[in-house]
Subunit: 544 residues, 2 copies
């Protein structure tokens, strides 16, 4: 067992080697860096534009286009992969200095790879694939050959670099992707603050004093800084959607089994008999980029690479022209919506109704969302060996504060058993049947619901993600779409009397934080959910 | 707790009420019935033809056509559902008297329903669906509204009749199916002899002294008697394919999640966290009938009815014209192939090679099939409550003999634990990866292997089904195709020296028993497996 002194030294050395990968000419001046801290209310979104490190053209490349457009421009030779990659490397370096979003920096490898992509196109006249030359950022838990995967455990710092790419990474690589950074996540990945003892905490670029969310929080902060145009995360309880909400970007959690999950580094023990299956999904800026990711991966027939992937092709679904029908979940009484989220949902509902869509409230027809979340959480605690604890204890590092706040008091002394697991599965199936039958009976295209009771909140106060975990328990695809922002002036009319907001509602603290809605689709109908997202985003006019 | 006297009386009353549902004019004479016993070597396949109960036309309807043809004839009004149903009711009544294959008889309801189908067609000019007017037989574990589901537990005899159809039954009903019998299965469904204390033992119509297999054994015996043209079974370790092999019919086990499984009566506890998922599939006489079943069910979008069904459409796959590539598993050393099965596999391989197909032996590249089967079996023993034992003990009935022979000595004292379940899942995943990678690397279209080391064997000697359980563990679709028959003359050249046959090879006892090959397809490629079955059956000329 390492001593505490050991782990601090180990973690510091890892951070130093990360910092050393940012070239001197991309370093921000002390005047900016000195302002960066987790108590600051600073918004750092403008720093890439004002710091002078990126050229005008690089600013344009990183800000003006989505991934689909950039690939198109690279293939048409209106730009090059090298130029695009250089721009995103620079911008990621800036994002890292102001939000602490990265865990691994691979700028040199990426620029070399980008040149290879450009040469390939020049030589062959055709692109490598649908993400030809595109820089794609990855959550740290993905293996990239030759790069470490510590996933924020100090005890993993001594691990050698990955010998193999994760299955998804290999697939994207063959389709032309350029990997240039991996991004930060919470200790154990089971918290909503991307904070760990190796890399420290990722800050929210909209307001540094707010959480960036988790577990794919580094990714979302990077994307919000436009230090990435397309990022890849994972989601078992909201890990794609929580940071997407907190930062103000798009997050898409597919049905399980559609995107190859094999070959990643898990935070816990392999072989869990949990009925909740972790999934990989994209975070980004445009809905067509969500489809670009899904279609690119699934069109490669990834089931030939990954034995856990369903051999089900991506279907090209036409735009939907009939009036959509949405089930509406307003709130769980235990976690009433903060005024900003209340206004967001009500505004969205009003806009969708005005557009001729049907909204069918279903709060009274579903079991308690809170109780459902408690059941779901049990599935994450099944390992009698408590492997994440072993990983923590192996270095002597302490627990980060958010782990304590992200837990259910009901489960403080809960011990898993095989016998109860049978009952848990029966309970899960009953809940699934309620939602399934509701969707069929009411002919719902999707369910509209909050992704969280609030916006991004101050660090370590997020608590349990009962609104995002629901689609994981059901294995329904789900997405968050940014919509509106917290505004104490507009929100004050939405304060409910006689309710207890958890966490505390502090209008000043969250002022300006992005809000979002969550859309939950039908299982295996990921394709349709993307079409629905397009219609909703257009109706709400919620994307740039 | 009931006394032993109670359970005998209860079971006898159930059998009597079943027997009473066979009209007097469909009863076989004592001269035939007196010959029926489980020690007899009698083949009873000709009795429907010779007993005089069916008209010539009824014999033709039951013998000459497959389900696809019968539906076509009904829709074209070349016959009626009532006429077809009457013929199969009569023939099922005969089958029941010589093989004891039925558990529930619904002749009156079926003939009434058949008339409704005929009226519907006459009135509407269109059929109800792709199985319009077709009699379909069901394994006892399916619920048919108004009929009991005892699944061979004495303690279930006091249960009321089913209040609802199983999801699959409801779907088939809406597509025009006529249900007229349910069929026998083993106590607990976890044995290869369809024997229980409620209904007794189903005999093999090819030779009464041989097992009819299990757990869908009543179904297969009924089909072999042509007392059914299309039957529905379930399979978790071979329960469709074992009886299909033993009786000489086709059996098809799809990938899990494709056919709705909800609303059946389970032999054990619901909510199992097992990685082996039970599936429903067809048994029958033609490969196009296997597709008729699969396509009919999946075209209804059964995921709207059943929350456990994958929303994945049935794909219409064109016939394959390129030369197929088969992986070949010859045998596990612990269960060497009996001479008849050895000859069957070798003959099939030779014929397929002659037809220009590639055969790639893979025995040396896979983990022990026996060890794999032991792992698989553990997944069936996960319930700490041992619910099947509770169901048995509730009536005081004893265990049937085959339960003892269908067990692994390694697991005699094995107790499940949540901790080991994690390791079991890791082991399963490793095995899955070996097969997955082999199939991809060697570009295999399917794996050809025995379904069992022998043909049907004498009652209670079948033992553990290591060759059929493999595709269940992998969740690969699999099918058995009848091919050749045991022949002591032809088989004697295939006797291997120095091996121990388990069970004992008794050439005389199995003389004339049907043989079969097993084809294992790729997961979710059920459609392609059917195309492959067609090519193999045509090459082997193995179907009538």
């Amino acid at each position: 067992m390492a001593t505490i002194a050991d782990w601090r030294t180990l973690a510091a050395s890892k951070r130093e080697s990360l910092a050393a990968k940012i070239p001197a000419e991309w370093r921000l001046p002390a005047s900016i860096v000195s302002q960066i801290n987790q108590s600051s209310n600073l918004c750092v979104l403008d720093i890439p534009k004002t710091c002078g490190i990126l050229t005008e053209h690089e600013l344009e490349l990183t800000e003006k286009y989505d991934a689909t457009a950039l690939v198109d421009m690279i293939i048409k030779k209106e730009t090059t992969s090298h130029e695009v990659t250089m721009a995103f490397c620079k911008r990621a370096a800036i994002a890292q200095q102001v939000t602490n979003c990265c865990t691994e920096i691979m700028f040199d490898e990426a620029l070399k790879r980008a040149k290879e992509c450009d040469s390939y196109l020049a030589t062959n006249g055709v692109p490598m694939g649908p993400v030809h030359g595109l820089p794609i950022s990855l959550k740290d838990s993905f293996n990239v050959k030759g790069t470490q995967t510590t996933i924020g455990y100090v005890s993993f710092i001594t691990h050698p670099p990955a010998a193999q790419n994760s299955n998804l990474v290999e697939i994207l690589f063959k389709q032309g992707a350029v990997f240039y950074v991996k991004t930060n996540l919470p200790q154990t990945m089971m918290a909503a603050d991307s904070d760990n003892n190796v890399f420290g905490r990722t800050l929210n670029p909209n307001k540094l004093s707010l959480t960036a969310g988790g577990s794919t929080g580094g990714e979302a902060a990077l994307l919000r800084m436009r230090g990435s145009v397309l990022g890849v995360g994972t989601d078992i309880a909201g890990s794609i959607r929580i940071p997407a909400l907190c930062n103000g970007i798009l997050g898409f959690k597919p049905t399980s089994g559609r995107i190859p999950f094999g070959g990643k580094v898990p935070p816990g023990r392999l072989g869990s008999p949990s009925s909740i299956i972790p999934v990989i999904g994209p975070e980004g800026h445009s809905i067509r980029d969500m489809e670009l990711f899904m279609k690119t991966v699934i069109d490669t027939e990834p089931w030939d690479v990954d034995e856990g992937t369903l051999a089900v092709p991506w279907r090209n679904v036409s735009p939907i022209s009939r009036p959509l029908r949405f089930g509406l979940i307003r709130a769980d009484p235990k976690f009433p919506l903060h005024p900003s989220m209340q206004r967001t949902i009500q505004t969205a509902v009003a806009a969708l109704e005005t557009a001729g869509y049907s909204i069918i409230p279903i709060d009274d027809e579903i079991p308690s969302i809170y109780t459902t979340a408690v059941l779901a959480w049990k599935f994450f605690l099944l390992d009698p060996k408590k492997t994440p604890v072993e990983h923590i204890n192996a270095s002597g590092e302490p627990w980060v504060p958010s782990i304590a706040s992200c837990s259910f008091p009901e489960l403080a002394d809960w011990q898993p058993s095989l016998d109860e697991l049978f009952d848990m599965n029966v309970q899960r199936r009953k809940i699934l049947k309620v939602y399934h039958d509701l969707v069929v009976k009411s002919q719902l295209d999707a369910i509209l619901m909050p992704a969280y009771q609030a916006t991004a909140v101050p660090h370590d106060t997020y608590g349990v993600p009962i609104y995002t975990i629901l689609p994981n328990l059901l294995d329904f695809p789900a997405a968050t779409i940014p919509f509106l922002k917290a505004s104490k002036d507009l929100d004050k009319d939405f304060i409910q009397n006689g309710v207890t907001y958890v966490p505390t509602y502090d209008a000043e603290a969250v002022e300006g934080a992005p809000c979002a809605i969550q859309l939950v689709g039908k299982p295996m109908k990921d394709e349709e959910l993307i079409r629905i997202m397009e219609l909703v985003a257009a109706t709400l006019n919620s994307l740039p």
